[in-house]
């Protein structure tokens, strides 16, 4: 009798212990799940807040790229002294800012020495006339297609993009009491003539601004007054008319090839 009672007590004790163990495990799992869910929610919330404040700037994306392309890109990036990631960002930025418009507006790429040879065959007055005619329309077409609205900021960005992607010239933008755009090239004095006529005509036709110009055989400097707010609008946002939160004050700052440099 005593032995039977003792056995039942033992069985009951084991059962209770097992049951408690199961309950504890369930509680722990529930707690862990809640923690994960909370953490997930926190991450999503933080990401949303960061995006709305304009803090989140990058996102990781996995692409499927053909190996031969990757091999050449890897070698070339290392030759240029940049990471493959920087190269991917640069190429995709180039698409957003330049390549997609190239097809729509109609551009042609030629060797610069071929172009220089053709320029040399043209009389100076015809080059100036051509620069004037095209300056009136080219800036307006590029800006309207890309950002929809012509403004001083967009004009400066048009010049920046031409300098960065077309290979026609390099630019330095001095933003002090007046704006000074200095365009450098090595295509000879006739190209300076063209650029001077083109830019002066573009400024006048697009913004009603008359620029003072100086010219050498390898450079053109344009000095003019206008208010540039310096809003940096990513192409996509600008096309939809929404503003980016990144702003700069133009006073005393300087932009070189699209990059802001502190005074």
């Amino acid at each position: 009798m005593v032995r039977t009672i003792a056995r039942e007590c033992f069985t009951l004790g084991t059962y209770i212990r097992w049951h408690l163990l199961v309950l504890a495990t369930r509680l722990r799992r529930q707690e862990a799940e809640d923690r994960v869910r909370c953490r997930g929610l926190a991450v999503i919330w933080e990401t949303e807040v960061a995006r709305s404040n304009g803090f989140e700037k990058y996102r990781s994306v996995t692409l499927r790229v053909s190996s031969p392309v990757m091999d050449v890109a890897r070698d070339a990036a290392s030759e240029e002294g940049i990471s493959l990631n920087s190269l991917a960002n640069r190429q995709l930025r180039q698409y957003a800012e330049w390549d997609r418009l190239k097809h729509k507006l109609g551009y042609v790429t030629v060797r610069d020495r071929v172009f220089q040879h053709i320029l040399e065959k043209l009389p100076e007055d015809e080059i100036v006339e051509l620069g004037r005619q095209l300056g009136e329309v080219e800036a307006r077409e590029y800006v309207m297609l890309n950002w929809r609205i012509m403004s001083p900021d967009h004009f400066i960005r048009f010049v920046d993009n031409y300098a960065r992607y077309s290979g026609q010239f390099h630019v330095e933008h001095h933003d002090e009491a007046q704006h000074t755009l200095v365009l450098f090239h090595n295509l000879g004095s006739k190209w300076s003539l063209y650029l001077e006529a083109f830019m002066a005509s573009a400024l006048e036709a697009s913004l009603g601004v008359t620029a003072k110009t100086q010219r050498t055989d390898q450079s053109v400097a344009l000095t003019f007054s206008m208010v540039v707010t310096g809003e940096r609008l990513p192409n996509g946002l600008a096309r939809n008319g929404k503003k980016n939160s990144n702003k700069r004050t133009s006073e005393g700052s300087k932009r070189i090839n699209g990059k802001m440099v502190a005074p």
């Binding site: 990781s60 031969p68 990757m70 493959l84 180039q94 042609v108 026609q168």
Partner: protein, 189 residues
């Protein structure tokens, strides 16, 4: 990670950390073009390997086609033909050597294809039968046809010793030449 299945091209799946503003623009524009964002990114990377990285080394410049057409119209056809004859062999040789490290007829055809695809100087149709037939179509006026014809004929003659046949209109040039036994294509695709 690299993958390969049968004869299909080998691929890798690299992860990039991309600027969100660029990513948004790429997603929107790829949808406009009817491509996936992945296709578009691939196209841009291919563009870099085939063209952009060489562009700065060679010295190319990009112009509005209407400006270039206006300029070409003011130059005499004889001057342009002379320029084309001078530049054809030089440009073809330089590009083939810099890109593929080898001069060959297949590489010459690839050079012409890259000029069509990336420099947008013309549209290209390549027919291969008993002979190669390259049809170059453009909208830059008659003088550009004169330049292109002289450029291509001189490149084929002085680099490969091939005397190609040609026909020309104000918007096209057709080149016909046999597939002679020049060294086979080398270098990475």
């Amino acid at each position: 990670m690299a993958t390969k299945k049968g004869n299909r091209t080998e691929h890798e799946n690299p992860t990039f950390r991309l600027d969100i503003s660029i990513l948004d623009a790429i997603r929107r524009d790829s949808a406009d073009e009817g491509l996936s964002a992945n296709n578009l990114a691939n196209r841009q990377l291919e563009r870099y390997t085939e063209w952009d990285r060489l562009e700065s080394k060679f010295g190319f410049m990009t112009l509005r086609d209407r400006m270039f057409r206006d300029m070409l119209a003011r130059v005499s056809p004889d001057d342009l033909a002379a320029l084309g004859r001078e530049q054809g062999p030089i440009e073809a040789t330089e590009y083939m050597l810099l890109r593929w490290k080898a001069i060959s007829l297949p590489n010459f055809v690839r050079f012409v294809k890259n000029y069509a695809k990336f420099a947008t100087q013309f549209e290209l149709q390549h027919h291969v039968g008993e002979e190669h037939e390259l049809v170059l179509v453009h909208s830059l006026g008659e003088n550009w046809s004169v330049y292109l014809e002289a450029f291509m004929l001189a490149a084929l003659e002085r680099v490969f010793g091939i005397e190609a046949g040609s026909e020309r209109t104000d918007e096209s040039v057709v080149l016909t030449f046999p597939d002679v036994g020049v060294p086979a294509s080398q270098g990475a695709e």
